[in-house]
Amino acid sequence: MSDTTVSSNVPAKTVQLRVLRYRPASDREPAFVNYRVAYSDDMSVLQALQSIKDTQDGSLSFRWSCRMAVCGSCGMMINGEPKLACNTFVRDLAPNTVIIEPLQNFPIERDLVVTVGDFVKKIESIYPYIIPKAPKPIEDGAYLQTPAQMASYESFSDCINCMLCYAACPQFGVNPDFIGPGAMAMLQRYNGDSRDGGRQFRLDQIHGEDGVWSCTAVGICSEVCPKQVDPANAVNQNKTNSALDFFLHYLQPRSQP
């Protein structure tokens, strides 16, 4: 306990945060503003931003919720890399200045808050729910699945929609209509599920440049993913599926959904 007392008497270490700010009502374009924050070893970048908002400038805007890497709200560029602010620690970045910007490749609404509407539409477009192969009354019991069947899609269900993969994707930067890694991980989560029968509906959504074919296998999306979802795997294995589906539709005319 005496240690705690001693350390609380030591002057707090401080770090400079350089935050890209944009207030649509007054600013023509975003500009950096510097803040100096006292930090402790257990302080996350999110907490540093909260301390600015609480004690220095209440108008600083950013999204957050769970502060434990589950909700996916606090994604932002930290020193140029897409990161969750809640699981990035100031101690790993200090004493250097920490540069904080909104997620790359997204329009900025205000300060660190970006527009997510297009991303939500993409998620909606791939039927993000199980479509049963045939109607099954409750009396027939639960759907059964072996561990191997579950392993084939389970990691894709870990996606928290934080959009870090989109911020890391240069092809999404070039073509904002590209369906992108996150939505494809969601697609594979359902297409890979043995209980699902909606594969064809989803494949119909991903042909062409705005589908999987904007991807050039850069692969950084998987590296920045805080949940090891491996969206690059979801996108690239579906190039094969998209190509096969293209050729197969000449061989077997399919019934209208």
Binding site: E29, A217, S222, Q237
Partner: protein
């Protein structure tokens, strides 16, 4: 206060020249070396088809110091392309589930690389053996 005016930031024009994308750029460029190797092989075949004199010229060019240097650079680039190609391989296929568990992607890369090396070595042995016999 609630005015909405989303600001669109442009991606850096030369994003491919900077980390972490530089490794991707080098990987893709190393594919050009594969095409050049193919072109050299094709040139050799065309010379062979045009007759013994043309083929002798082709062989003479190959023996020059310049050609040797170019081939060293091409070999390095192609080897790099092989390694990075197999690193991408597990990303392009469905998860490999054996005995209810996923085979790690690194293992897939290592096995594929090993198979490629064994096949290349076997091919080299066959070519050398045929050359020695003829």
């Amino acid at each position: 206060m609630s005015e909405r005016r989303p600001f669109h930031r442009q991606q850096a024009r030369r994003w491919w020249a900077h980390k972490p994308y530089l490794a991707y750029t080098v990987r893709e460029l190393s594919g050009v070396a594969v095409a050049l190797y193919g072109a050299i092989l094709l040139a050799g075949l065309i010379c062979l088809w045009r007759g013994p004199e043309a083929y002798a010229d082709f062989q003479r060019i190959l023996r020059s110091d310049g050609a040797f240097a170019v081939h060293l650079v091409l070999l390095a680039a192609v080897l790099w392309h092989v390694v990075t190609w197999f690193q991408i391989l597990p990303k392009t296929m469905p998860k490999l589930i054996l005995g209810g568990r996923q085979v790690p992607q690194r293992q897939v890369t290592a096995i594929a690389l090993l198979v490629a090396m064994v096949c290349s070595a076997a091919l080299l042995v066959v070519v050398v053996a045929i050359g020695a016999m003829s």
